[in-house]
Symmetry: C2
């Protein structure tokens, strides 16, 4: 269960929270960044006493790997509607993530109508999940991709066979296994769960490590598949941005994300 | 000078940096958020020993007003190319901003060609600055707008006379007065300098306080006017995002920004 894999508990050492980076949430040996952010998200929801992340930013300081970790949560403001907190997630060796976020209580799917004032966008057009490309080849699938249920748009999956689409975009479906509901913490994982947009660009770039990721959560998602889209408009200055949108099964935007990634000099 | 108005010095009290929120950088009595972020940016560039902000996020905790402030900079990682640091900017009364950022050394305008790999976008189409709308009416101009030189696209300036365009977008030119060069710190001010996109939307919304602002800086800007564009696609769940782009006089994207603002219940 994702919920168990991201669980935190007040630190027995006195300060902050303890958690554990589990084995099996990695890609090429490095723990997925959205999974790490979800652990911090749980700690900061507890520290602030709020159920949902509203805006969360992580700067990635070092790659994670299975180990015990500590989250030194600091609540900076307790307001009426929102609370803001920062944290560093550290392994016994070194700090891995620096996070700041604002937390609150977001609407349930049934409560949204009154606050939907302007929508200039739509969910990505995707074939049904069963007609999309599941990343489940046991020979080639990174462990992380076996922990979530992810289905790529066939037009965006060509990079797997050496035929990138040429457009730095990745679209697909996301859900957790065994019908585990996606809560607002799991959305922090969803926004970093897809293969990099650069895989579909014809660029002299192999890997684009994330420098920083910001997620905005607008609402709790309805049950069911999430339709996700990630695209890059600017690969300049040694950086690229990837803008993400996550839409739930009612066709509502539940999260936006933007990450800044490094484009290593080839 | 913007540089002097955002100056910081090592705290005489021992910890972090001291600065001063100056009079005259406010709108409706509240100090501009980009100006506050620039003060923190200067402190963190000094603390990390890096010349440029690369990715900086601020959560706005309370409105600022003229006062002495302290910035408690904490360097979280000193890497080879980048350093990451966090800070809280506090007035004598309370914390105002929570910031986390990564800093490094960005390219000069002449050094960009090799790293420009993909550009899917263009500067906003703007009439020349002299044919745009300067916000200099001494009766109606917020003090902050007299500290910078900002020219709105005529099509986006109708809200001033009660005729919003109906599109939540604001485009225009930005520069500092007296030909003061815009450095990468001043870009942190530029991305929060324009009137809110909501002013041009026909929404039952008067003011949209910023919850969080993230700026990505791609390059040092060339001298001259900056062409800026801010637009909003989703006003949902009690929030709106405003996505900004800042292009320099060579037609290069030098910064992207996204802020999450509150849409107060009307």
């Amino acid at each position: 269960m994702f919920r168990d894999a991201t669980a935190v508990e007040p630190s027995s050492g006195g300060s902050g929270y303890d958690a554990r980076i589990l084995d099996g949430w990695d890609i090429a040996g490095n723990t997925n960044g959205g999974y790490l952010l979800s652990i911090v998200g749980r700690a900061l929801c507890d520290a602030t006493g709020r159920p949902d992340p509203v805006s969360v930013t992580a700067h990635y300081l070092a790659p994670g790997s299975p180990s015990p970790v500590n989250i030194d949560a600091r609540v900076l403001k307790q307001g009426k509607r929102f609370a803001t907190a920062s944290a560093t997630l550290s392994s016994p060796d070194r700090p891995l993530l620096a996070v700041v976020g604002t937390f609150g209580e977001l609407a349930e799917p049934g409560e949204r109508a009154a606050t939907t004032l302007h929508v200039d966008g739509a969910p990505p057009e995707l074939p049904p999940p069963d007609e999309c490309v599941a990343l489940v080849d046991p020979e080639n699938t990174p462990p992380f991709m076996q922990r979530i249920d992810l289905r790529l748009h066939p037009a965006d999956a060509g990079f797997r066979s050496g035929e990138p689409s040429g457009t730095p975009r990745v679209r697909g479906w996301f859900r957790l296994h065994d019908e585990e509901p996606v809560d607002t913490i799991a959305l922090l994982c969803a926004v970093d769960a897809f293969p990099p947009t650069a895989f579909n660009a014809r660029l002299p770039v192999a890997w684009t490590p994330t420098l920083e990721l910001t997620a905005h959560v607008r609402s709790r998602p309805a049950h069911g598949w999430l339709a996700c889209s990630f695209s890059t408009r600017f690969v300049t200055g040694g950086f690229l941005e990837a803008d993400g949108e996550v839409w739930d099964s009612t066709g509502t935007l539940v999260a936006q994300s933007r990450q800044l990634a490094l484009v290593p000099r080839g």
